[in-house]
Symmetry: C2
Subunit: 162 residues, 2 copies
């Protein structure tokens, strides 16, 4: 399997999981959180598939495509180790959907980051809310959800709050 194959599997899985989770959480009014903007392709996709929910983007520094840059009042700038706890104080346990593509080349670094942010992400979810992640997360109380048909096992993970 080439790096191109792996990359395509990851992108296709990400889209399938986001489409599935957006629909599965559509009845929850709380906001959607995108952790990391990158060049904004996934945020652009979220804007297409999310109706009637605010989408907030957590990012250290914006470097996205002009088409895919959130408005200032939907942008939460800073280090997620600080902005996620601040979001809990601001929004409470209300998020309907949280997405994170940790996706660096270094798998050990991704895993350490997943361990660090899991306890900061978990309390943000509303009951029934879902987290879609590119890497395995370390939650105490969320249950892992079966992937939709188009997603490739191990390329994407979905968790749900009880």
């Amino acid at each position: 399997m080439s790096r191109l194959d792996v990359f395509i599997a990851r992108m296709v899985s990400q889209r399938a999981c986001l489409n599935f989770a957006a629909e599965a959480t559509a009845s929850i009014a709380g906001p959607v959180f995108e952790l990391g903007l990158g060049n904004g392709r996934t945020y652009h996709h979220l804007r297409e598939i999310i109706a009637r929910r605010d989408i907030y983007v957590f990012e250290r520094a914006v470097a996205s495509h002009p088409d895919s840059t959130p408005p200032d009042d939907r942008l939460i700038l800073g280090d997620v180790h600080e902005t996620l706890p601040a979001a809990l104080a601001r929004f409470g346990p209300a998020a309907s959907l949280i997405h994170a593509d940790l996706g660096g080349h270094n798998l050990d670094k991704n895993d350490a980051f997943a361990r660090a942010i899991s306890p900061l992400v978990e309390p943000l979810l509303a009951s029934g809310g879902m987290m879609v992640a590119s890497d395995r997360m370390y939650f105490e109380g969320l249950k892992e959800v079966s992937l939709p048909a188009d997603a490739v096992s191990g390329r994407c993970f979905i968790y749900q709050a009880g």
Copy 2:
């Protein structure tokens, strides 16, 4: 259609076209040319699907993933406006497969680049050799080939020398 959808369609089409063209040109002994290395995902893929042919990469400056960096003697460094004519002098009309992902955000720039390099690419191909490109090219004597089933029209182009 989101930017994520467009991007996935482009990557899936690129892979389908490369797999098709690699097989269709397998009986031609001449080298394979990859124009632009980027992070090396496509080069990594070419190495998997190309047997018994040398793969040369044309690049201005190497910034690829360590897994996907060509050996020095398969790297042709410099501006393609100079290195493509030099390759004609070195190899003659011998290439079995040429791939170029022009893929910038700016469609006008991509098109201008396609127009500029088309006459430099065309004479490099062996009889029966193929060019796979992310953008429409401007060849005088090559014929456009129908895309394989998995490719999306307009996201990839295949040309063949008579």
